[in-house]
C-alpha cells in the first residue's frame, strides 16, 4: 500500500488584516480590495525555513532514520543553485543516503512532488518520502497579489505502511498557460488579465483534472468527503464545487481569508487541513492549479486518528497568532523597500562554506552532544564533557535539540543590536532533558515574555548576505504555540 503516514503544517505567527495593505496601497489600484486576513512570514523566514518547520511538525514522534527521500516544492526558492531540499533534509536531521529534489516553477509543483513520492513508494524505490511545500511570495506594493498571497508551508509523509490515508490514483494536466510568470532575472511575478485567467484557466483546468480522476477511480460525487483545491476567486471556487455535483460541506474550507493564497504550498496545506478532520473511509480529493492541474485521491484508513495531537497541523496554528498592524513592517520584512540599517546593520557575518559543511549537523540540525558517561546533553557538541563533575573526553553521542522544548531562563530586549523587527530579543534557554545555551528569540514582541515561559525551537533565516549571495539559517526559540 502507498499513502499518507503523517502530515504537518506551518503557518507563520504574524497575521495581517488585508485592510492594512489596502489602506496603505489601495489608492493606487482601488479594485484590489479583498476581505479577511493573511499569514505573513516574519522577517527571518523564507520558503526553506518554513518548510523545515512544517517538516518538524510532520515528523514529530517519527524516527528520522526511516525517511529515504525529501521532495521540496516552491515557486519561491531561496537558492537558484544549491539544492533547497538538501538544506531542509539536513535541518530535519535526515540520513544522507536519500533522494532529494526541488520541484519548482509552478504553483502545482507540490502535487507533482506528492505524486512523485507516491509513485516512488508504489514502485518500491523508496519506503518513506517527506514532501514539503512552501510559499512565501514577494509581491509588488499596490498589486492584487499583495493582498491575495499569504505565507505558509505544509508537509506530507508518504509511506508504505502504518498509513492514515491510502493513495488511490491521480490525474495530471499540463498546459503552457501563461497566466503568471517570472523570468530568471525577476523578483516579482507578472499577471495577464484576471478575467482570462479565471475563465480560461482556473474554471477549466481544475474541473477537467478532477473529472478525469473521478472517472479513472470510479468516484461518484456523493462519495467525496472533502475536495480540497486552491481558491483564487471566492465565487468561482464555490461554483467549481457545485458544477462537480458537490455540496458546500464537501468542499474543504479554502483558508483564503485566514492564510491567503500560499502559492505552491496551497493545495498541500488544504490537504493537511482535510486529513486533520477526516474519518475512516473518507475520500479526499486534492487538486492544484498552475500550468495545468494535478488531482489526487486519498482514502482515510482506520488509523486516521493516530496523528491527532502529535502534529499541530492547520487548526492549532491558525488559532495561535500575533497581529501585524504595520504595512511598513510587512514590506520591510520582504526587503521590498530599502531601509536604513545603519553601519552596524550592514555588518553581516560571512558564512564560510567549508566551516558550515564541517559543522552542518550543529548549525542546520541543532545537533549537540550527550555524554555517554554522565548523560549531560550539551550544545554545541563538545569533545570534553561540560559537567564539572564528569569532564570525560570523547565519550559523546549525537543529541538533537531542535525537537526539545525549553524554558526561558533569562532574556533581554536589545535596542542596540540591529534587527529588522526591533528590539532584538534573545535569551538563555534551559532545554527539557538538559542542556542550555543562548538563542535569538522570534515571534514575540516587546513586553510579551516572562522568565520561565515554555519555548520551542523554530528554524529561521539568521541573515541575508546580499554581497555574498548567501542566506544563512539557524534555529531560534519562540514561545510555544498550539
Amino acid at each position: 500500500m502507498t499513502g499518507i503516514k503523517s502530515y504537518g503544517a506551518y503557518i507563520p505567527w504574524y497575521r495581517m488584516e488585508r485592510s492594512v495593505v489596502y489602506s496603505a496601497m489601495g489608492w493606487l489600484n482601488p479594485a484590489t480590495y479583498m476581505a479577511g486576513e493573511k499569514a505573513v512570514a516574519n522577517y527571518d523566514e523564507d520558503s526553506v525555513s518554513m518548510a523545515v518547520n512544517a517538516g518538524m511538525d510532520c515528523l514529530k514522534g517519527i524516527d528520522r532514520n526511516i525517511i529515504d527521500g525529501l521532495y521540496f516544492a516552491s515557486i519561491t526558492l531561496p537558492y537558484k543553485e544549491r539544492l533547497n531540499a538538501a538544506i531542509i533534509a539536513t535541518a530535519l536531521d535526515l540520513r544522507a543516503d536519500i533522494k532529494t529534489a526541488d520541484f519548482a516553477s509552478s504553483t502545482k509543483a507540490a502535487t507533482t512532488a506528492l505524486l512523485a513520492a507516491c509513485d516512488a513508494v508504489k514502485a518500491g524505490s523508496a519506503k518513506n518520502i517527506l514532501v514539503c511545500a512552501s510559499g512565501c511570495p514577494i509581491t509588488k506594493p499596490g498589486s492584487a497579489q499583495e493582498e491575495a498571497y499569504g505565507d505558509a508551508a505544509a508537509a506530507i509523509l508518504v509511506g508504505e505502511d502504518e498509513l492514515i490515508c491510502e493513495f488511490q490514483g491521480a490525474h495530471c494536466l499540463s498546459y503552457d498557460f501563461s497566466d503568471r510568470w517570472m523570468a530568471d532575472f525577476d523578483r516579482f511575478e507578472r499577471l495577464w488579465e484576471d478575467r482570462w485567467i479565471r475563465d480560461e484557466g482556473y474554471n477549466k483546468f481544475i474541473p477537467e483534472a478532477i473529472s478525469a480522476l473521478a472517472t479513472t477511480c470510479n468516484l461518484k460525487p456523493k462519495e467525496v468527503a472533502k475536495l480540497a483545491f486552491p481558491c483564487l476567486y471566492v465565487r468561482d471556487h464555490a461554483a467549481i464545487g457545485k458544477a462537480l455535483g458537490l455540496e458546500a460541506n464537501q468542499i474543504q474550507d479554502h483558508l483564503l481569508n485566514t492564510v491567503g493564497n500560499c502559492a505552491a504550498a496551497y493545495p498541500l496545506l488544504l490537504l493537511v487541513a482535510a486529513v486533520e478532520d477526516a474519518h475512516p473511509t473518507d475520500n479526499i480529493v486534492v487538486a492544484s492549479y498552475g500550468s495545468g492541474s494535478d488531482a489526487l485521491l486519498f482514502t482515510a484508513t482506520e488509523r486516521i486518528g493516530e496523528r491527532k495531537g502529535a502534529s499541530k497541523g492547520v487548526k492549532a496554528q491558525l488559532a495561535s497568532k500575533g497581529k501585524l498592524t504595520s504595512y511598513q513592517k510587512f514590506v520591510t520584512f520582504r526587503d521590498v523597500i530599502p531601509v536604513e540599517k545603519g553601519i552596524r546593520g550592514e555588518m553581516t557575518p560571512w558564512e564560510m562554506k567549508s566551516l558550515l559543511w564541517r559543522n552542518r549537523r550543529g548549525y542546520l540540525a541543532l545537533v549537540g552532544s550527550k555524554c555517554k558517561r554522565c548523560g549531560t546533553p550539551q550544545f554545541p557538541a563538545q569533545r570534553v564533557c561540560v559537567n564539572p563533575a564528569c569532564k570525560a573526553i570523547d565519550q559523546m553521542e549525537d543529541y538533537r535539540f531542535s525537537d526539545k522544548k525549553a524554558q526561558l531562563f533569562t532574556y533581554t530586549e536589545d535596542r542596540l543590536a540591529f534587527s529588522l523587527n526591533p528590539p532584538a530579543i534573545y535569551a538563555m534557554l534551559d532545554f527539557q532533558g538538559g542542556g542550555r545555551n543562548m538563542f535569538d528569540l522570534t515571534d514575540c514582541e516587546s513586553g510579551g515574555l516572562k522568565v520561565g515561559m515554555p519555548m520551542e525551537m523554530s528554524f529561521r533565516r539568521k541573515f541575508a548576505d546580499v554581497s555574498r549571495s548567501t542566506y544563512n539559517y539557524f534555529w531560534k526559540a519562540a514561545p510555544l504555540r498550539g
Binding site: R344, P349, Y411, D414, Y426, R436
Partner: protein
C-alpha cells in the same frame, strides 16, 4: 604553587584622557600614556627590557602583533608581545610584564593598553560579527550586544531576589549616579556630569532593563605601567606600589552549557577573587580591601561584583548601595575615578587604567577624589559576558 606577592612593584604609570578622541589615533594615545609613565618613573625608554601591549578590537584600529607598540615608541628590538583577553586585555598586558619581572628574566618591563574605538562610525562596541566572537560562533550566537548580555543578568537578578523592575532599576541607578559624581572629580574622565537617580530612571532603554545610564562610556584611550623587581623599586621612587595578588580565571563552559549556573553572579570572579585573597593574605575582604576599581561595564555588573568579591553578602548588595557604603565618602569606596561608567572604557586600556587609579590613590595623589588612608586596593577586570568570561583580579598595596 608559588606566589607573586611582593615580588613586583609598579614604579611609573601613565593614562591619557579617555573619551571620544576624534583628535587622536591609537599611536597618539600610546605616546601620551607612555610619556607620562616614563616621566613618572624617572627612567629612559632605553631602560625598558620587555614590553606587552593589549588591544581587543585590533581589526578596527592598530592591527595585531607587537609591532604597533614597538614601532610607535621606537623600542629597540625588544621582546614585544601583543595580548588579548577581551575586556580584560589590559590586565593581561600587565600580567605579562609582572610575570616577566617576577620570573627574573628582566628588571624593567612595560605594560601598555590602548584602544581606539571611535573610528567605526556607530555607537556601542564594534559589531561582534566582525570577528570578535570567532567565525564559528557567530553563526550560532544570538544577535547579541554587550548591554544585552548583561541585561540578562539584571533580568535574572530581579527575578531571583523578587525585585520589581522599578526597585531593581532604582538600585542600579544609585550605582551609576555614584560613579557619575566621582567622574566629575576626574579631569581625565570621559563623562564628567552629575547624573541624578531620577534622570537615570527616565533614560531610554538600551537593553531591557538596562537604560542609557546603566551602560559605561565607549571611549578611546591608553594606559601604561612600568614594573620592576620589588627589591629594586625603592631605588626609583619612595612610594612604589607592590603587587600583592594577581589572579586570572576563565569560564570553563559550564555556565553557558550546564544548567547549574544562576546568571546572578559571575563564577570566575568568585574563583579569581578567592585565590587573590588567599595570595594577598586577606581573610575579610569587606574590611581589609580599602577601595576597588571593578569592571562596571554595566550597573548590574558592579552590583553583582560587590557580592562576588565578598564586599556584600549574597543577595544583599542593595542594602549596601542604599547605605552609601561604596560612595567616595563611604566605608569602601568603589570606582573613585568614575569607573568604566564615567572614566570610560577603551577596552585594551581599562585594566591598566583601573590600576592607575589604585596606584595614585595609594600614593595619595588622587586630588579631590582621594580616599582616606587606603591600604589595599583591588582591580577587577571582566572580559566577555557573565556566563562566558575571563576575570582578572589584582590586589595592590604600598
Amino acid at each position: 604553587m608559588g606566589t607573586i606577592k611582593d615580588k613586583v612593584a609598579i614604579i611609573g604609570m601613565g593614562c591619557t584622557k579617555f573619551g571620544e578622541r576624534w583628535d587622536a589615533g591609537p599611536e597618539d594615545l600610546m605616546v601620551e600614556a607612555f610619556t607620562e609613565a616614563i616621566e613618572d618613573a624617572g627612567i629612559e625608554p632605553k631602560d625598558i627590557q620587555a614590553a606587552w601591549s593589549s588591544t581587543q578590537f585590533t581589526e578596527v584600529s592598530i592591527g595585531v602583533s607587537g609591532l604597533p607598540l614597538a614601532e610607535t615608541l621606537k623600542l629597540p628590538f625588544l621582546p614585544v608581545t601583543h595580548v588579548e583577553n577581551m575586556c580584560a586585555s589590559g590586565s593581561e598586558s600587565l600580567r605579562g610584564a609582572c610575570y616577566a619581572v617576577a620570573a627574573g628574566v628582566c628588571d624593567i618591563a612595560l605594560a601598555m593598553g590602548v584602544e581606539k574605538l571611535k573610528d567605526i562610525g556607530y555607537g556601542g562596541l564594534p559589531e561582534f560579527s566582525l570577528g570578535a566572537s570567532g567565525k564559528k560562533e557567530m553563526l550560532f550566537n544570538p544577535n547579541i550586544t554587550a548591554p544585552g548580555a548583561f541585561a540578562m543578568m539584571a533580568t535574572r537578578y530581579f527575578e531571583r531576589y523578587n525585585l520589581s523592575p522599578e526597585e531593581g532599576k532604582l538600585m542600579l541607578a544609585k550605582v551609576s549616579s555614584k560613579s557619575h559624581h566621582n567622574g566629575t572629580l576626574n579631569e581625565k574622565a570621559h563623562l564628567r556630569r552629575e547624573a541624578p537617580v531620577e534622570a537615570i530612571m527616565k533614560a531610554p532603554i538600551v537593553a531591557w532593563p538596562l537604560g542609557l545610564y546603566d551602560c559605561c562610556g565607549v571611549s578611546d584611550g591608553a594606559a601604561a605601567a612600568l614594573v620592576v623587581r620589588a627589591d629594586m623599586a625603592k631605588s626609583f621612587r619612595a612610594d612604589p606600589v607592590y603587587i600583592k595578588a594577581l589572579q586570572i580565571a576563565a569560564s570553563s563552559g559550564e555556565e553557558i552549557m550546564y544548567t547549574d549556573y544562576d546568571y546572578t553572579h559571575v563564577e570566575p570572579t568568585c574563583q579569581a577573587a578567592a585565590k587573590a585573597y588567599e595570595e594577598a593574605g586577606v581573610d575579610n575582604p569587606r574590611e581589609q580591601i580599602s577601595m576597588a576599581e571593578v569592571h562596571d561595564c554595566f550597573s548590574i555588573t558592579e552590583a553583582v561584583t560587590m557580592e562576588d568579591l565578598q564586599f556584600s553578602a549574597r543577595g544583599k548588595v542593595k542594602e549596601d548601595i542604599d547605605a552609601g557604603r561604596f560612595d567616595l565618602d563611604g566605608e569602601q569606596p568603589i570606582q573613585p575615578d568614575g569607573g568604566l561608567k564615567c572614566f570610560g572604557h577603551p577596552i585594551g586600556a581599562s585594566g591598566i587604567r583601573m590600576m592607575y587609579e589604585m596606584y595614585k590613590q595609594l600614593q595619595g595623589k588622587a586630588g579631590a577624589r582621594q580616599v582616606k588612608n587606603p591600604e589595599l586596593g583591588l582591580t577587577h577586570n571582566l572580559g566577555g559576558f557573565p556566563p562566558r568570561c575571563v576575570i582578572s583580579c589584582f590586589i595592590v598595596g604600598l
